[in-house]
Each structure stands twice: as C-alpha cells, then as structure tokens.
C-alpha cells in the first residue's frame, strides 16, 4: 500500500494519525481514498472545481507532483506521498 504523510494541521481529521495507507494507482485516487475515509478533510485539499488548493503541495518522494503528472502521477506501494501545507507560525 502507498503511504501518505498527513501534516499536523490536518491530523484533526485523521484521529491524530500522521500516516494513511491505501492501495492506489495514482495520487488523485490516494487523496480520494483519504477523503472518503475521513470526513471533513476533502475541502481542505480540493477547491470546488476539484483542483488542489494553492496552499497545499503534494510530493511523491522529494518531488513536487507539479513536476511530474500532477494528481495523475502514478504511484506504487513503495512510494511515500506527502501533503505539505502552508503554515505561518513563529509564535510572537
């Protein structure tokens, strides 16, 4: 199963879990599997037209999917996919 790394701000939707695993052939179906099994997370990943939001990056390994095939990027069981959100904290 492919591994998806969940960032801290989204872990409130995954019962605090940092890792989600599912069998998926591409990035979109992996993210869809995450959305299907965790209510409320979908709108944080995709906008109304189904595009990834501009403050979320998705990586396969260390490469941005925009440099690959976007959400159509093929993945296999060895791949580690990461959701990287913009975070602003610095704690003043």
């Amino acid at each position: 199963m492919a591994t998806l790394i969940i960032p801290t701000p989204l872990r409130k939707f995954t019962d605090g879990n940092a890792v989600f695993e599912a069998t998926a052939s591409d990035v979109r179906s992996l993210l869809q599997a995450l959305s299907n099994s965790h209510e409320g997370i979908q709108k944080h990943l995709f906008d109304d037209s189904g595009d990834l939001r501009s403050f979320i990056r998705v990586y396969v390994g260390d490469e941005d999917i925009n440099e690959l095939e976007g959400t159509d990027t093929k993945i296999d069981d060895r791949d580690e996919v990461s959701i990287i959100p913009a975070i602003a904290g610095g704690t003043k």
């Binding site: 960032p7 403050f55 704690t91």
Partner: protein, 389 residues
C-alpha cells in the same frame, strides 16, 4: 564596505577563534560576517535563537523589527527575554540583551510593525532578511519585499510539533535567483481553512530548533560556505522525529518573477489573505459587555452561559459556563435552551460570535448573546485571579 577591508581587534580574534580555526570558514568567513547586515523580522520564538546566534557569531549590523511587548506567556520559548522584560518593548529588550552578549556589533532597533509602507525601505538597508513572523499576511509581505528588493529571505515556520525551513530568493552562481515563497505556496489559505486561534500552540523547544537552523543558513548565505536550503524545503516533525527534504522549483506563474510577472509592487496583504472580506463573517450578533454580564449575575437575571472553547482551554481558566466546543454546538442544541437568554463566550469573542451565527442559521435561535472580549475581558475587568493565555 568590502570584507577585504575588515580588521579585528585582539578581543574579537579571541572571541571568534572557534570560527577562525575551521579551515573552510577561517578569517575570511569571519570578515564576511562582520561586513554584513541582517534584518530579523519578529523577535519571538524564531527570532530569539536567530538573534542570539547571529549576534554571538559576529554579524556586523543586525536590525530587529518588532512592535510587540514581552508577555509572560512568551517566556516558555522566547529565550531572549527574562521576567524583568515583561511589559517592555521586545525590540528594545532584545537590543539590550544582544549588546551585553557582543559589544563589537551594531544593533538597530525598529520598534514598529512591518507594514506595506515601511517594508521595502527596511529590507533595502540590509544584506539578508530572516523571517521570524507569525502570520500569513506578514510572511507574504516579507517575501514580496525581498523579491522586489533582490534580497535573500531565510525562512522558517512552525506549528505545534512541526517546522519548515528554506532559503528563498538566493542569488545563484548563474546570476539568477532561487525559488521564493510564492513558488512554493502561490496563495495563502483563507480564514476558516487555517488553524484558528483555538488550534495554535507550539512546543517550547521547536522554535529554538528551527530558529537555530535559520541562523545557520544566514551564516552560510553570507560566508558562502556549504550548500544552503535554496531550492529545498526542510521539514521536521518532532512527534515522530522525522525529517524530510523536498525540492522547491520555480513556478512559471509566480506573479512576482515568473514568466509573465503581474505584480511590481507590494499589495494589500490582509485582503490577499481574505481577512475582513467575508460579509457573512461580519453579520452582527447581539452582544453584551463583561460589566453588563457581571451585573446580570449579581442581580440574578435568569440566563445560561455557554463556553464554546476547547476542553484544554477550559482547564486553564473558566468562568462557570457550560463547555460546548464550537465544533459541536450544532449537535448540542438539547443543551442550549430557546426560552431564556443564552450568553455565549469564548476566549476573545470571535468564536462565540461564529457559534451564534451558526446556531441562528441552522436552528433559528433568537435568544443568543455574545460576550464581547470573552474570558480575556472578564479576567481583566472582573476576575483578575484567573489565568490569561
């Protein structure tokens, strides 16, 4: 001044000797530090270790931008400050501390907010900028000012147990500039999709780690030693102690320096981040002050008080309300009557106003009253023995 013209006193040579005896760094690297200037924006969690290490390392001129004053809740992680500084301007207190650490360098205090009006002028006066701010509007402002003024932006950001660091807009060997923050995140999350004030918090050591990494990258940028994080994003998750380094590419659609730049000056960053633009969020709700509420309690006016904060906040301080966290109010209507006044309260009054709008929209409530200023105002005016957070 070229770093070739730099000289050191005996005291300085002794102070910096651990740099001077690193073969790759040596006195040439130290001269570059002394000839350079760094602007640190924000002297909080990230700014504390940044400023301490930059001053200790011998950066010739350091600017500090901060408009805030030291609060007791800062001391959990802002190691620049001590209890004697509570209530004092951060930039002023920081300057005092740094001067006592290293008298051979120049410290410049900018006791002001970093704004669209002063950003480019401030940034233009320094060689390298280090971003230690804590919110999206200021982060985009720092980035854009650095790109427009051709300055390096050494970046770090933290959230709870997680941190990010990178070096943006660095001048590369081929004369081009490396990726910047907008290549990574073209636009910020709108309010509602960002963690709210109830969901903040940070483990005390984490800004120390990320701020120290920032200081290290500043020294590398200036000395030219090693490979910086330009074009790479460093990620640290303290919960599992995992680190990752991801590639950051330039985005041809970058509005500042992509193929067809559309932005040639600074913009309104509050608006860009969607702050204060939602009319729905602004719809007025009935409200009362903490003084009026105190009067109600003294006179025995029949009402109930609902506290829509999180349980961990309730544990710090509470004012006798029934705890129903914001996310659960719509499913908890059996505990929220319609026939007597219901006062709704949170930390500062924003979440309770939102709870009221949600209940009015979904269930037709007409008896809900927002406690303005929340438990913070209550603590200040009525019950000083409560803890502030």
């Amino acid at each position: 001044m070229s770093h070739h013209d730099i000289t050191f006193s005996k005291e300085e040579l002794e102070r910096y000797s651990r740099h001077l005896i690193i073969p790759e760094f040596n006195i040439e690297g130290q001269k570059k530090l002394k000839a350079s200037s760094v602007l640190v924006i924000g002297s909080g969690g990230l700014g504390s270790p940044l400023l301490l290490y930059l001053a200790a390392a011998g950066i010739g001129r350091i600017g500090i931008v901060d408009f805030d004053t030291v609060d007791a809740s800062n001391l959990q992680r802002q190691v620049l400050f001590g209890i004697q500084d509570v209530g004092v301007s951060k930039a002023v207190a920081a300057s005092k501390r740094l001067k006592s650490l290293n008298p051979h360098i120049k410290i410049e205090v900018h006791d002001t907010m970093f704004t669209v009006e002063n950003a480019r002028e401030l940034v233009s006066k320094y060689d390298v900028i280090a971003d230690g701010t804590d919110n999206f509007p200021t982060r985009y402002l720092v980035n854009d000012a650095c790109v427009l003024e051709n300055k390096v932006n050494v970046y770090a950001s933290i959230f709870r147990f997680e941190g990010q660091a990178s070096v943006f807009n660095e001048l590369l060997a081929d004369g081009t500039r490396g990726p910047n923050y907008r290549d990574l995140f073209p636009a910020p999350p709108p309010p509602g999709l960002v963690p709210s004030c109830a969901e903040g918090g940070v483990i005390g050591v984490l800004p120390g780690i990320l701020g120290s990494l920032q200081a290290l990258e500043v020294l590398k940028v200036i000395s030219g030693v090693g490979d910086t994080l330009s074009g790479r994003l460093f990620l640290f998750d303290a919960t599992g102690f995992t680190t990752r380094i991801l590639k950051v590419r330039k985005n041809k659609d970058n509005p500042l320096n992509g193929e067809n730049p559309t932005q040639t000056e600074l913009i309104n960053y509050e608006q860009f981040c969607g702050i204060g633009t939602s009319t729905e969020e602004k719809r007025e709700v009935a409200e009362m002050s903490v003084q009026e509420f105190d009067q109600w309690r003294k006179e025995g006016v029949k009402h109930i008080l609902i506290d829509v904060r999180e349980p961990y906040e309730f544990g710090i301080a509470e004012m006798g309300g029934e705890l129903i966290p914001l996310a659960t109010v719509l499913e908890s209507t059996d505990r929220i009557p319609k026939d007597i006044p219901v006062v709704v309260q949170c930390r500062s009054g924003a979440r309770s106003a939102r709870a009221i709008r949600e209940l009015e929209d979904a269930h037709g409530y007409t008896n809900l009253i927002n406690l303005t200023g929340g438990i913070l105002d209550w603590q200040e005016a009525i019950q000083p023995e409560l803890a502030r957070y």
